[in-house]
Symmetry: C2
């Protein structure tokens, strides 16, 4: 029987996590889909799966980090704990993706999994301790249990769908960045090229970035001014209606 105050944080990190917190198999798992930018694409943090009790499986296998759900722990807190276990700190942003409960296979002995998506700034270094978490580009993803594969797909769609509503792009970048870097992130998330001048006009009219005094020169070409994310003010009364 778990106490109400101790969080089962040690349950995260590695694959077949402790089942439940005492009695019988866990009712559900909480899985974290942690994205960052890996050479121009989204990348997701995976941990090495421990081989089953039988000891077979010569091939290397990976899973999302997850933990068994504890009945008395809020879902968001559980997901944050799973993420912290992998990252060494909290992700820059986190949101629930949904519940996944078809019959597809999952490393936890639970019929239901709740997925959360988190964002990590580009350039972040995973703590390289024994846990062995690594970022893998979505384009070249290793084999992952099918239920977790569905979570990764849904998480990517979730993040892409929230561009423009949530500061998603900014959480994939360090605190200061050039507008060209920001545009690359937006193009990655939206899946299409954007017009440079138009993109900057949109940013300016929404007052969503503010310039710093710092300029950065990278290789050849004119140096770029660094910007930071500006807190959103009152909403400018959305015009129009787009059917999409």
């Amino acid at each position: 029987m778990p106490t109400a105050t101790s969080r089962p944080r040690a349950a995260a990190r590695r694959a077949p996590a402790r089942a439940g917190a005492g009695a019988g198999p866990a009712a559900y798992s909480v899985d974290a889909v942690l994205f960052t930018v890996v050479d121009g694409d989204l990348g997701v943090a995976l941990v090495r799966a421990t081989p089953g009790p039988g000891g077979e499986r010569p091939r290397e296998r990976w899973t999302l980090p997850f933990a068994a759900g504890a009945p008395d722990e809020p879902l968001q807190a559980a997901a944050a704990a799973v993420a912290e276990e992998v990252l060494g700190g909290p992700p820059a942003w986190m949101e629930q993706v949904g519940a996944f409960g078809d019959g597809r296979r999952h490393p936890a002995p639970a019929p239901l999994s709740v997925a959360y998506v988190g964002l990590v700034p580009d350039g972040f270094e995973l703590p390289g301790d024994e846990g062995g978490a690594e970022f893998h580009a979505l384009a070249s993803l290793p084999a992952v249990p099918p239920r977790q594969k569905a979570m990764i797909d849904a998480a990517a769609a979730h993040v892409r769908g929230r561009v423009g509503q949530a500061p998603v792009a900014f959480r994939l970048l360090p605190p200061t960045f050039t507008l060209s870097e920001l545009q690359v992130i937006y193009e990655l998330l939206l899946g299409r090229r954007l017009h440079k001048a138009s993109f900057r006009r949109s940013l300016q009219s929404a007052r969503i970035v503010e310039p710093t005094e710092v300029w950065r020169s990278e290789g050849r070409g004119r140096p770029a001014q660094l910007f930071r994310h500006a807190l959103k003010r009152k909403r400018p009364a959305a015009r129009g209606l787009r059917f999409d």
Copy 2:
């Protein structure tokens, strides 16, 4: 132990549903938030809560329809079964809202609930049998268990957020409708008035409705042409980028 082929459909409908399908309390519940239009506002289907074993509770209490989750049943199918139990048929549209697992109270003895939102056309009549489901306008909602109240709020936000991506407005209307009726639905969902001519231009350019040969005269005024929802064709290459 439930068999893989029999769905526990009888578990829906009334409040403290059968816990699980045999052994111990259910791991999670599946709840349906069924919306329709009730005098100019969204309305949600509620069922009368059965009083607890103690028999107290003189005040009338309501809950969302729900069922105990069965490990071998896909979530969407479970939610559809719950909805069918209340409506006598499937809802016009259904989508998952998310998992709710903070410590808030829920009529099921489960720490976790998965909410689905469904839409029912305006004018639909609930089968008035002993179950006693009724639509209640969101503006005048009776007391509902707190976790279910959170689900209702999230479901309304979910539907509002998917206007323009999914045929949400059309599922709140009968198969044929006037453009004025459609505009009222959009205004209800978006929470703001729309410009009549501009609204119709948007519909026309998106080819999202098609006219029928039928005109309907309701009381005074010029009769209105009836339209039906047109299946969406190729996406017209979304222009622009709005920060909101």
